[in-house]
Symmetry: C2
Subunit: 563 residues, 2 copies
C-alpha cells in the first residue's frame, strides 16, 4: 500500500466563494453570479455516448458543476471569481472506481505493513517504529510478512514479537492470508495455552513441549482473531480519512463502496456531518440488514451535495478463484473433485435479490465462477418479469463466464462490473484452475463491450492497488507491470484506451446510477477532475501506467494536491 | 393516546421564501433581505434569566430565527416578505419536553389501542376496524384491554381474537402490562403447544385439557413476544412521523429523546434526509453502544438546521417505583424486605459515565429511588474532579431524593430532569411505597428551584401523555385532572406558572445544551412558537390544562395547524 499523501483539503475553493458584487463588473455572457475558470489545459472528457471531447478550459458554477467546456477560440470571462491556470497540463475527469472497499482500504493503510521486508530484523524494526506511532489502538494489527523472503529457516514466533512489544497484543497476517502470528499478549487475551486444541481445518504451531509458538494456521487463526476488540469509532474515522486521501491521491473522485456495514456508513456520515467528506461514495450495503437499518424503505437521497448515497445492496454468489471457492460448471482443472461453492441455492438468491429490488434498491451480486454467473443471470432473468424499469442489475467481477452466457448480460442490461488488475494478477492462477479450454469468457471485457453489455471498471481495492492508471494499462495491454505475459493474456480482450477510460468514468458512473452527476465533464456534471503529469492518450502503455496525479478536484473544489 | 392530528406540513413558510427584490421597495430599519412578520399577538417569552417578556409582534429572518420582538408602539416593516396576523391570539415559545421516547410514542400511536373498551365485543370491533387499515405490519400489536372492565367473568382467549383475525399473529398487552393475549397464529409462530412449560415467574393460562388458551402472564409473555419480527424500516418511519405529529400538535417544538437506539437514529436521519423532520430532537443514546456507533468520537454537530443532534448518553441507575425496582435507602414501606435494585455497582456506574464523559458526551442517568439518586450524585461528585467545564450532568426523574441529598444537585450544576405528571399519577402509589415520613424530597421541584438546581420538565411520553399544558397544570397544582388530591399533594412543592413554564422552555433547552437556539424567543433564537386558544397566564389551572394549540411553528415555518 502506498503512503498516504495528505494535502490541505479543499483549501482552494471555486464553489461557494463569497461574492462581493460591488467590486466586480458584470461578466459578459456568463449569467451566473459566481463562477470559476479553469484554463490553459489539455482537457479530455467523454460525452454521454463515449466519444472523446477535447477542450482547453472549463467554467464552473457556484454549485461546483460544469457550465461550459471551452475550446481555445472561445471567449473567456474576463473576471471570473476564481481562475486556475492549468499551464498546459492534461485535465481528465476524475476517475471512478466501480468496486472497492473504502474502510478496508483505510484499515489496511493504518495497519503495520510488512510487505517487502527482507529479514525478521527488518520486520522487527518496522514494528518498533510503528508501535509508538500508533498508540490509539489497543491491538496492533498488520500483515505482509513471509518467512521465506526473510530466509529465516523457520516460522517466526511470539517471542520474536515480544522482543519488541510485550504490553500490547499483536496480530500479523502472513502475506498469503493463511496464517496469523500472535505475540504473547494476544495469546493471553485469547486464552491460548498448551491445552488449546487444533480446530478442524487449522493448526496451532507448537514447540517440542507442545506449547503454542504464536503461529496460527488457517481455521486456527480465528482462535486469536476473535479476541481482538471491535474497532473504535476513532479508528473507523481514521480509516475513512486514510482511504479518502489514498483514493483522491490516485485521481479517484468517486467510488462505489461494495459492501457497507452500518459502522462503515456511520463513519462516512460523520465525515459528511463534519464537513470532511471530499470523496464521493456510492454505497452498496453489505447484504439486506444494513440496507434496511440505514436506508430503510429505499435508496437514500444524495447527501452532502452529491457526496454520499446508499443506492443498493451487495450479495455474494460464490467465493474466489484462488481458494477454489468460485462456483464452476465443471470441476477445477487442478482439483478434479471440486466445483467451488454457490453461496445460495437459486430460490434463496432470488429471494434476497427480490427483497432488495422490491424497495427499489439496486442489486449487485458477486459472481466469479461460470456457475455463479449463470445462477445470477438466471435470477435476473426471472426477476425482470416482476421488477421492470431502470434496475441496473450488477454482476461484480464476472471473471469466469461461460461463453454462451456472455450475451445474457445484455438481455436485461446487466452491468458487468470488472477489475482489469484482477486479470493481470490472476492470469497464471486462472489458467491453472480452468485449463486452457475454458477461458473464452474469462475476464472478457472486450467481448462484453462487443455484446453491448454496460461495462464498469474498478480495482477491488484493497485487494488490488486502487491506482486507476494501473487498471487502464492492464485493460489495454492484458499485461502486468512487468510486461507479463508477452503480448498480453488472451489479447483479443484488450480494449482501446478510450474504451477502458470510459469504463473507469462514464461506465462506472452509469453503474452507480450517477451518470447525470459524474463521469463526464459535459455541462451539468460536477466539476470532478484531475490534473496529471502527462497525456495518457499520447503515451505508450508503460508510461500510461506511471501517470502521476498532480491535483484532484471534486465539485469545483481542490480536494487533493501533490506536494 | 390522542388521535394523530396531521396537517399539511410547512405549507406556509417564512424562512427561505424566494425574494423578488425588484418588486419591492427597500424596507426601512430592517437590513435583512428576507423577513417574516408575525403581528397582532399576545406574546410571551422568558428572557435568559427567566423573566417574562411581553410583545405583540415578531420579526423572523431567512434562517428562521427571531430578529426582533416588537412592542405595540414599535414600527413594523411595511413590506415584509410574509406576514402572519395573529388576530390577538396568545403566542408562546414552543414547549420543550426534556424527557420522552419518540419512537415509543409513535409505536404506541400506531398500535391497536383498546383502552376504554367496555366489552369484549367492543374490543373485537376495534380489532376488526384496525386490521384492514394496518396491513403493512406482519403482526398486529396493541394493548389496553381489561377483562374486569369488560365484565367478562373470564380471561379473553385466542379464540376471541381468531374470530376476527386468523391470518395474522396478534399480541395484545393487558392494561397493566403484566399479561399478553395472543391469537392462534401468534402461538403457532412462537411454537406454543400443550407441551410448552410455564417458565419461572410466569404462567401460561390453559384449558381443562392443558391446552394454552392464548393468555401469557408475566415472564411467560416472552414466549410469544420473542416470536414477533423486528420492526420494519417502514414501520419505524411511520412511528417517527406519528410521534412528530402528536408532539407538534401538543405544542412541543423540541424534545429530548431519552434512549435512542441505532435504529431509532436512522429513522430520524431518514426523516431529516428526506426533508420530513419538522420537530427538533436532541438525542441521548441508549447506552454507550449506539453513542459510539452513531456519533463516534463525540456529540454530533447540529444537523438539518438545528433539528437533530446526538448530544449525550442515557444510563439507568435503578428501576421504577411501581414495580418496586426503584432503589431506596430504606426498605419499601409496603414491602419491608425490599429496597429495590441499583442496576450498577458504584464502580460500574462511574465507569460507564466516565466512558461517555471522556468523549464529551453529556451524561443523563435515570434515578428514581433515593439510593439511586445518591449513587449518581456520588458518581458526579467524583467524576467532576476529572471532567471539568460545562458538563451538565443530568439526573432523569429524580423522584425520591433524600432531603439531605437535595443540595448536592447544586454542587456540580446537576440538572434535575423531572416530569410533573408523574407526581400526579404516582402520588397514591408513592405514599404507599414510602410511607408518610420519607416524602420530603419526593417530586420536589420547588425545593430544587429554591436550591438553585437547574430544573427541566418533560412528560416521559409515552408513559404519560406528552401534552405540556397538562404538565404545567400538574406542576402548579400538584393535582391531577380530576382535582385529586384536594389542595394538591405536598403543596409546598407547587410552582408558579412562570417557574413551570421556564422548566418547559428555557430550563429544558439548557438541559439539552440548546439554550442558545431554543426555549426563548429573544432575538437570535429560532422562531419556534405556538399560537394557543387562550392566555395561560390569565386563566385558572383547570382552564390552563385545557389549553388547545392552534398552530405550531418551527424555525419560522408552520409545522402544524389545527384543522
Amino acid at each position: 500500500m502506498k503512503a498516504v499523501l495528505l494535502a490541505g483539503a479543499a483549501s482552494l475553493s471555486l464553489a461557494g466563494a463569497p461574492l462581493d458584487a460591488k467590486k466586480r463588473a458584470p461578466v459578459a455572457e456568463i449569467p451566473l453570479a459566481e463562477q470559476g475558470l479553469v484554463d490553459n489545459v489539455n482537457g479530455y472528457t467523454l460525452d454521454g455516448k463515449g466519444a472523446l471531447v477535447r477542450f482547453t478550459g472549463l467554467l464552473i458554477d457556484r454549485d461546483g458543476k460544469v457550465v461550459h467546456l471551452l475550446k481555445s477560440g472561445d471567449t473567456r470571462p474576463q473576471r471570473p471569481d476564481f481562475k486556475l491556470d492549468g499551464k498546459g497540463r492534461t485535465l481528465l475527469p476524475g476517475l471512478i472506481d466501480a468496486h472497492g472497499h473504502v474502510q478496508g482500504l483505510g484499515e489496511q493503510a493504518l495497519s503495520l505493513d510488512l510487505t517487502g521486508t527482507k529479514s525478521l530484523a527488518e520486520a522487527q524494526a518496522r514494528l518498533a517504529a510503528y508501535a509508538p506511532a500508533h498508540t490509539g489502538s489497543a491491538w496492533i494489527r498488520g500483515g505482509g510478512w513471509n518467512q521465506e523472503t526473510w530466509k529465516l529457516g523457520r516460522f517466526p514466533t511470539a517471542a520474536d514479537l515480544d522482543a519488541i512489544v510485550r504490553d500490547r497484543p499483536i496480530l500479523l497476517e502472513r502475506i498469503d492470508g493463511h496464517a496469523t502470528l500472535a505475540n504473547s499478549a494476544a495469546m493471553a487475551a485469547a486464552g491460548i495455552s498448551a491445552k488449546t486444541k487444533d480446530p478442524a481445518g487449522g493448526r496451532i504451531e507448537r514447540d517440542a513441549k507442545g506449547n503454542p509458538t504464536g503461529l496460527f494456521v488457517d481455521s486456527a487463526r480465528a482462535l486469536v482473531e476473535q479476541a481482538a476488540p471491535a474497532r473504535l469509532p476513532r479508528e473507523r474515522d481514521q480509516a475513512f480519512a486514510a482511504a479518502q486521501d489514498i483514493l483522491l491521491a490516485d485521481g479517484i473522485t468517486a467510488t462505489c463502496d461494495m459492501g457497507t456495514s452500518v459502522e462503515d456508513w456511520e463513519a462516512m456520515r460523520r465525515a459528511g456531518d463534519l464537513g470532511r467528506l471530499r470523496l464521493r461514495v456510492v454505497s452498496y450495503a453489505f447484504g439486506l440488514e444494513p440496507a434496511l437499518a440505514v436506508a430503510g424503505t429505499g435508496p437514500t437521497p444524495w447527501l452532502y451535495a452529491g457526496r454520499l448515497r446508499m443506492v443498493g445492496v451487495k450479495f455474494y454468489g460464490d467465493g474466489a478463484l484462488g481458494s477454489r471457492g468460485a462456483a464452476l460448471k465443471q470441476p477445477y482443472a487442478d482439483a478434479p473433485g471440486q466445483k467451488g461453492t454457490l453461496f445460495n441455492d437459486d430460490a434463496k438468491l432470488k429471494n434476497l435479490m427480490s427483497r432488495a429490488a422490491m424497495d427499489d434498491f439496486q442489486v449487485a451480486v458477486h459472481a466469479i465462477g461460470d456457475a455463479a454467473n449463470a445462477e445470477v443471470l438466471d435470477a435476473i432473468n426471472e426477476l425482470s418479469d416482476t421488477y421492470k424499469g431502470d434496475r441496473r442489475w450488477r454482476i461484480e467481477h464476472a471473471q469466469i463466464v461461460d461463453v454462451k452466457d456472455l450475451p445474457r448480460f445484455a438481455q436485461h442490461g446487466t452491468i458487468a462490473s470488472m477489475q482489469p488488475s484482477h486479470a493481470t494478477s490472476d492470469h497464471k492462477m486462472a489458467i491453472a484452475r480452468l485449463g486452457p479450454d475454458r477461458l473464452g469468457g474469462a475476464y472478457a471485457w472486450k467481448a462484453m463491450l462487443d455484446l453491448k453489455v454496460p461495462l464498469a471498471f474498478g480495482s477491488d481495492y484493497p485487494v488490488e492497488d486502487p491506482n486507476p492508471f494501473a487498471g487502464l494499462a492492464d485493460a489495454v495491454t492484458r499485461q502486468d507491470a512487468a510486461g507479463d505475459p508477452p503480448g498480453g493474456w488472451l489479447p483479443e480482450q484488450k480494449l482501446t484506451l478510450t474504451q477502458a477510460f470510459a469504463a473507469f468514468t462514464i461506465g462506472a458512473a452509469y453503474a452507480a446510477k450517477a451518470e447525470d452527476k459524474v463521469g463526464s465533464l459535459e455541462p451539468g456534471h460536477y466539476a470532478d477532475f484531475i490534473l496529471v503529469d502527462r497525456d495518457p492518450f499520447a503515451v505508450d502503455p508503460a508510461a500510461l501506467r506511471e501517470t502521476k496525479v498532480l491535483e484532484t478536484w471534486v465539485g469545483g473544489q481542490r480536494a487533493w494536491m501533490k506536494k
